[in-house]
C-alpha cells in the first residue's frame, strides 16, 4: 500500500466512530497498547525524542530501499499516535516519506496532538522521521 492508501485506511477505520471522541480515543489507546513498537535495546538515551512530558523513542533503518521505523512512547496516547505514524510511514521509500503530508491526523480529529505547542514530542518525532528519511536519500 502507498502512504496515501494507508492514510485512507486509517481515516476509514476512525470514521466508524463519527462524533464519538471517546470511541476514537479508546481505539487510539488500544493501538498504543497493542504492540511493543521498538526493541528494548533500542530504547537508549540517544534515541529519545524529548517532549516536555512524554518521551518518544525512534529507530530508523534502511531495508531494501525502504525506511523501517520502530518507535515507542511512555504515555499511552502518545504511543497510539506513534503507532499510527509508524504504520503510515514505515516501509516506504525515503522520497515518499519526505513528501508525506500526514493530513489524516487532521481528518480523524487528532490534529491537536500534532500542535507544536503540545508537550508530547510528536512533532519532533515526525520531524526526526523525515530528517532520517532525507539522510537516507543523500
Amino acid at each position: 500500500m502507498t502512504i496515501q492508501e494507508i492514510e485512507k485506511e486509517i481515516v476509514e477505520e476512525f470514521d466508524i466512530f463519527g462524533d464519538d471522541w471517546e470511541g476514537k480515543y479508546e481505539h487510539l489507546i488500544d493501538l498504543g497498547k497493542s504492540l511493543p513498537l521498538i526493541k528494548e535495546e533500542f530504547k537508549t538515551e540517544d534515541r529519545i525524542i524529548k517532549g516536555c512530558q512524554s518521551r518518544v523513542w525512534l529507530n530508523s533503518e534502511l531495508k531494501e530501499g525502504n525506511v523501517v521505523y520502530t518507535a515507542d512512547a511512555d504515555a499511552i496516547i502518545t504511543k497510539g499516535m506513534v503507532a499510527l505514524m509508524v504504520r503510515v510511514l514505515s516501509n516506504h521509500k525515503p522520497e515518499d516519506i519526505v513528501k508525506a503530508d500526514l493530513k489524516f491526523v487532521d481528518t480523524i480529529g487528532l490534529k491537536e496532538h500534532l500542535s507544536p505547542t503540545r508537550a508530547n514530542g510528536l512533532v519532533s518525532m515526525i520531524n526526526k522521521m523525515k530528517a532520517d528519511a532525507l539522510a537516507f536519500i543523500k
Binding site: 480515543y25 512530558q53 496516547i77 508537550a119
Partner: protein, 405 residues
C-alpha cells in the same frame, strides 16, 4: 451559592465549552483567571490615563504616576507593609528572586557561602541560587522531606554552619499545596542570624499575609497567580535590605544624577525599578488586590480549604488514585497520579472532558525525584471553583481511569 454565582459572573472566561463540555478550570496554580474589574482597569488605563510616569510635568503623566504609586500603596496595604517604598514592582516571582540573588552576590555572598533550600522548591527558587553557586563557589544545602512530604524541620539545624548566608523557602508548595511552617523556619534562622527569603507565589493567592508580622527579609510573589495580569510581581524588601541590597539592574529612572564618571542612585523602590515599568500591570495588580479584598482573603482560604477537603475525600475513594502530600494543612492544591498511568494521558483525557489540569513536573524536578515519579497530575483551586465542579471532575476521572486501563 448566590454569592458564588456573583463571583463567577466576574470571570467571563469560565463560560466556555471545551470539546462540548463546560470548562472546569483547575489549573489555578499555574495562573488564575482574571475578574472583569482587573481586565477593565487595564483597558481604562489605556483609554484614559496612559502616559509614561515619574518626572512628567503634564497632566496625563501626573495621572499615570498617581495611579502607579497608588497601586504601590494598595499592594503595601494588602500585605501590611510599613513603608510603601519596600514594595518593588518586578516582572514576577522569578524576576524578583533573580534580583535578590544578583544583588546579594555583589556585596553579601562570598565564595564558600551556603544557601539552604527545601526539596520542594520551584525551579525559580533553585536555579538562580544554583547558578550563583556554580559561578562563585557557593553551595546549596537541601532540607529533606519526611515521608508525608512535609519539611523535616528537625533536620535544619544540622544543615546550618557559619557559612550559611540565607534560607530561601517556598511558603506553599506549588506541587503539593503543603504550607511551610515559617515560624519554625524563622526561629532557627533568627537564632543563627540568617536572613530568610520567602517564595510566596503560591501563598499570596490563597491566604492572608502580614509582612510586618511575618518579619522576613525578602518576600516575593506574582500578580498573575492572584487574579492579576501577567508580567508583574512583588519584591518586598525589609527596611535593612531596601538600603543594603546592591543594585543589579540599573537604568533610566533609578538614579539621581548620571555622568560617565559617576552615578548617584535614587533611594527607595525606584533604585530597583529600571526603565519604564509595567504600568498597566501594576494598576491591574492593584485591581486584583481590590478584588481579593472585596471577597476577603479569609473567605478565599476557607472556600478553597473546603474544596481541597472535599476533593481529597472523594479522590481517596478511587482505589487507583495516589495523592501526594496528603496533609490537611494545605492551600488549594492537590497532586496525584493514577496507578500505572502516565500523568500526561490522564491530563489529556480530562481535557477532552473540559477539565483543565496541569501535568508533569510542575517545575519541581527535585521533588519529582524525591517522589520517584516522572510527574503528577495537579488540580488547584481558586475562589470561583465549586463542589459541583469537583463532582464533575471525579466522575470524569473515573471514566478516564476506565478508558486507560
Amino acid at each position: 451559592m448566590k454569592e458564588q454565582n456573583k463571583i463567577r459572573d466576574q470571570f467571563p472566561i469560565l463560560n466556555q465549552k471545551i470539546n462540548g463540555y463546560d470548562l472546569v478550570y483547575f489549573d489555578n496554580g499555574a495562573t488564575s483567571q482574571k475578574p472583569l474589574s482587573v481586565i477593565e482597569s487595564i483597558s481604562d488605563y489605556y483609554k484614559n490615563s496612559n502616559s509614561n510616569i515619574h518626572r512628567g510635568v503634564h497632566t496625563l503623566s501626573r495621572k499615570a504616576t498617581e495611579l502607579f504609586e497608588q497601586a504601590r500603596k494598595t499592594v503595601a496595604q494588602h500585605f501590611n507593609v510599613k513603608n510603601d517604598q519596600q514594595v518593588i514592582f518586578t516582572a514576577g516571582t522569578t524576576d524578583s528572586i533573580n534580583m535578590v540573588v544578583q544583588g546579594l552576590a555583589k556585596n553579601y555572598l562570598q565564595a564558600g557561602d551556603e544557601i539552604i533550600l527545601s526539596t520542594y522548591e520551584h525551579h525559580s527558587n533553585i536555579l538562580p541560587w544554583q547558578l550563583w553557586a556554580e559561578e562563585n563557589g557557593g553551595k546549596l544545602k537541601v532540607i529533606s522531606l519526611l515521608d508525608d512530604q512535609t519539611i523535616d524541620y528537625a533536620a535544619i539545624p544540622a544543615l546550618i554552619s557559619s557559612k550559611t548566608k540565607l534560607i530561601a523557602i517556598t511558603h506553599v508548595s506549588n506541587t503539593l499545596g503543603l504550607i511551610t511552617d515559617l515560624e519554625k523556619i524563622k526561629t532557627i534562622a533568627q537564632k543563627n542570624n540568617i536572613p530568610v527569603l520567602v517564595d510566596g507565589a503560591q501563598s499570596a493567592p490563597h491566604m492572608p499575609i502580614d509582612l510586618q508580622k511575618l518579619n522576613v527579609d525578602f518576600f516575593v510573589c506574582s500578580a498573575h497567580k492572584m487574579y492579576g495580569p501577567t508580567g508583574i510581581g512583588l519584591l518586598y524588601l525589609s527596611e535593612k535590605w531596601l538600603k543594603d541590597l546592591a543594585t543589579s539592574k540599573p537604568g533610566g529612572g533609578t538614579i539621581k544624577t548620571v555622568s560617565f564618571e559617576k552615578t548617584e542612585y535614587a533611594d527607595g523602590a525606584l533604585r530597583f525599578e529600571p526603565g519604564t515599568p509595567n504600568i498597566s500591570g501594576a494598576i491591574g495588580f492593584a485591581a486584583a488586590i481590590d478584588f481579593v479584598n472585596l471577597v476577603g482573603i479569609n473567605a478565599i482560604f476557607d472556600h478553597e480549604h473546603e474544596l481541597v477537603q472535599y476533593a481529597q475525600k472523594k479522590m481517596s475513594e478511587i482505589p487507583e488514585v495516589i495523592i501526594y502530600g496528603k496533609s490537611n494543612h494545605k492551600a488549594g492544591v492537590i497532586s496525584f497520579n493514577v496507578e500505572g498511568q502516565h500523568p500526561f494521558d490522564v491530563g489529556t483525557l480530562l481535557d477532552k472532558y473540559g477539565i483543565a489540569v496541569r501535568t508533569g513536573h510542575h517545575c519541581t524536578q527535585p521533588l519529582m525525584n524525591c517522589l520517584n515519579v516522572q510527574g503528577t497530575v495537579r488540580i488547584s483551586f481558586a475562589i470561583y471553583n465549586t463542589k459541583e465542579e469537583i463532582d464533575i471532575f471525579i466522575e470524569k476521572l473515573v471514566k478516564v481511569i476506565k478508558m486507560l486501563s
